[in-house]
Amino acid sequence: MTKRQKRMAAVAALVAGLALAAVFGFTAFRKNMMYFYTPTDIVEHKVADNARLRLGGLVTVGSLKRGDGLNVEFTLADCEKSLPVRYDGILPDLFREGQGIVATGQMKDGVFVADEVLAKHDENYMPPELAKSLKTADGRHSCAPFKSVMQAAN
């Protein structure tokens, strides 16, 4: 091998080695890269009962109940399971039924009590007229981006 070919092999080996290390590392720590758990993880008791965590899912259509002041109760669902959520605070502008959200808090007596709610927008953009004509798209996000952490880890 000429010197140039040796350098070429060294660069290729560096890139391949790093890629392999990244694949192994991120596969091993896949669980820890997840920003939130989903209702399925909680319902199936895959998380410690009183752990403080982030919970992501879609606000179930027809489940939103407004109480006194800023108090709200609603059901949060991924593609499989759902969980009641209680929250007392300011909601983001995008919050509505059918919207994806990420709530931070912990489980208390079968209800997820949140102290922060963030809206998770999806990747679809369209004018209002089009949204109205597409009944499925209007106000309803896909549950696909809410991946169960425990299923991903297996």
Binding site: L18, P92, L118, Y125, M126
Partner: protein, 253 residues
């Protein structure tokens, strides 16, 4: 295969002239496309059904984020060529790309934060996409800093090339983070398999803006690479002749 054109382009004086001819065209085309893209995107395009006018940040945010990744790949490729073939031009291109890439990475982060507060409810969260993009900014800054730390430009370029290649592993992580893991950041709108998830009257200004940003980056990198070549080759005959030609003093140092 005939490689004469490649070797000619790789020689600093030929590239200097080639870049000098190409750069104004790229800059002009970029400005025209940007004028159309911004006018059509910020004024003509309809508001989003849910985000209303706030969605218009994509006409700045998405092109900035796209070039932040593309320029990193360019920088790492130039670094690999510099390492393997010891090509001076590749070193200049790599060093010229870093500040442009860093600026657009910062722009993507800042516009994302300004959009995040009203839409998500938070300026910043440590999800996979945001964190990986921040790491990208640190990698760019690392290359800039490392290059500045060397007195010998060629030794500096070799160190930078190594860092740029090592950081390349972060590029797919930024792009696929929203698919591999749960994140607050939404998935890709246009760079994905299947139909783009954006209506046509919103998409065309975005495509124009993307192309415009690539052209303007090309312009900036060519101009910076020209300067870098002049600096690195300041003691050679072609730079001295160029200086004399331009009517300045014969000494450029």
């Amino acid at each position: 295969m005939n490689w004469t054109w490649f070797h000619r382009l790789g020689s600093p004086p030929s590239f200097y002239r080639f870049a000098g001819r190409l750069a104004p065209w790229l800059g002009g085309l970029g400005l025209l496309l940007l004028a159309y893209g911004w006018y059509a995107g910020l004024v003509l395009a309809p508001p989003d059904y849910q985000q209303k006018d706030a969605f218009r940040i994509i006409y700045v945010h998405v092109p900035a984020a796209a070039v932040s990744l593309s320029l990193y790949v360019l920088m790492a490729l130039a670094g690999a060529v510099a390492l393997i073939w010891r090509m001076k031009l590749a070193e200049a291109v790599m060093v010229a790309t870093a500040p442009v890439g860093a600026s657009f990475t910062a722009l993507a982060l800042v516009t994302g934060m300004l959009w995040g507060k009203p839409m998500w409810g938070a300026y910043w969260v440590w999800d996979a996409r945001l964190t990986a993009e921040l790491v990208l900014l640190f990698l760019y800054c690392g290359v800039i800093g490392l290059n500045a730390a060397f007195d010998d430009a060629r030794a500096g370029a070799r160190a930078c090339a190594l860092l740029a290649i090592v950081g390349l592993v972060n590029v797919p992580i930024v792009h696929f983070s929203v698919e591999w893991w749960n994140s607050l950041h939404q998935g890709s709108t246009i760079l994905k398999f299947g139909k783009p998830a954006i209506s046509a009257d919103m998409a065309w200004p975005l495509y124009a803006g993307l192309l415009a940003t690539y052209c303007l980056c090309g312009h900036a990198i060519l101009r910076r690479a020209q300067n870098e070549l002049l600096l690195r080759e300041r003691n050679t005959r072609w730079v001295r002749e160029l200086a004399t030609e331009l009517g300045g003093g014969a000494r450029v140092s």
